[in-house]
Amino acid sequence: MDDLYRELILDHYKHPRNHGTLDPHDFSFQDENPLCGDELRIDVRLDDERRVKEVAFTGKGCAISQASASMLTESIVGKSVDEIKQLGKDDILDLLGIELGPTRLKCALLSLKVLKAGAYGLEGAKYRDDE
């Protein structure tokens, strides 16, 4: 418990960074974790170099899912879309700084799943435009 609910995670849960929505945005995605009912939406605005300029999230769920979203959004400002697509499970675990069992891992990784789905959706749209 001392690990899982360490001060930093509780702080992000109680005082989420980048909380809200962005309208307009360059991409937005939302999804849920049916196992525990965590919900998350992430909106992203890009700058001229297609790097993350602003990001916001809304959602509800357990401390792990919401703290993970808060930390992830904080960490991606300035990152390119390609860099976002390279993010993986270990990046989230590094941010959280904890070990997680398989059930809670799904809570922690919801933010990553939503962000990457948004980024890949952007790529899909661009790809169609090029055609």
Binding site: M1, L4, Y5, L10, K14, L35, C36, G37, D38, E39, K60, G61, C62, A63, I64, R104, C107
Partner: protein, 407 residues
Amino acid sequence: MTASTPYRADFPILDREVHPGVPLVYLDSAATSQKPSVVIDAMNDYYRRSNANVHRGIHQLAEEATALYEGARQKIARFIHAASTKEVIFTRNTTEAINLVAYSWGRVNIHAGDGIVLTEMEHHSNLVPWQMLAAERGAKIHIIPVTDGGELDLGPLDGILAQKPKLVCFTHMSNVLGTINPVRDIAAKAHAAGALVLVDGAQSVPHLPVDVQALGADFYAFSGHKMCGPTGIGVLWGRQSILEEMPPFLGGGDMIKRVYLREFKPNDLPHKFEAGTPAIAEAAGLGVAVDYLSGIGMAAVRAHEQQITAYALERLEEVPGLKVYGPPAEKKGGVAAFSLAEVHPHDIAQVLDRDGIALRAGHHCAMPLHDRYQLPATARASFYLYNTSEDVDKLVAGLYKVKKLFS
């Protein structure tokens, strides 16, 4: 008030530590019960001494295996007051039992426009098979709603039954609210309207005296693993006259009387519905679980759980910000689903796990019921014959820790 139990010592797992120095406090019996030594030993003995396939072979081991398997069926028939062992069909679990009815009875009897009545408090296993059938057949689903207090709102029932539905399906005891439904009354009304009745008994058979004939249901489904038995075995009870008319479910060995190259004759009940080598060790284990529960007496099991549940509700409601869902203790089984202010149930369960307390967090396979109360999830403590008031005290102490952490 305190509730102790002489049965705790029968369950070896309850002696283990979950984390170093932290003993187990098991409050998740609605998900699956723990198993007494006699059940574990019965399954081991079967594999050590008697392992053979059933209903074939005339050698000693095959005779012993068949006697164990069919003996379990007899014990279960007596336990639920079935009219005959022909009415006791082994399945994998409650879910498979309900699916058996949906596939076999449903595909013969449900046609476009026919009505199937469900309730808002059902487990997904008593919703999804009917949704699948209704979608395939163009049937109509009627819903009996749930009141704010967590009971079935039977007000709309007469109007629904006036539309002559074919089948009424509902749970005997809610796995979230603990509500014990008036099976006999609903069944009588349904029959008067010409409908058959299927009851999900997954939570009731382990915890209450159940007499399927007195209840007046036509189908009654339950699982072994929630009643001190192993996983992988469950039961469908059905009225013999209805089962006789139903086509087989799965095809294969054991469910046939005679096979030709292009056709077959199905076996007699109950084997008609039991294709392939069954879960023999599990049946033997379930038979012993039934002996174990019968030895204690289901009225005594129920009385112990009522005592624990009344104490638990009283203690839980002391915790500021805590809300328990469902009817008062006298109207419910040993289940307390609750929310604690803004703390997500997963966080509650995770923090309590550090104190060795096992409780369930989530939607408990009843998403529509949680939608009804606009909750994404709840935490759920559930009790069985091995729980004590000390377990409840540990739960409440743990919840105060949760509150402190998230305040």
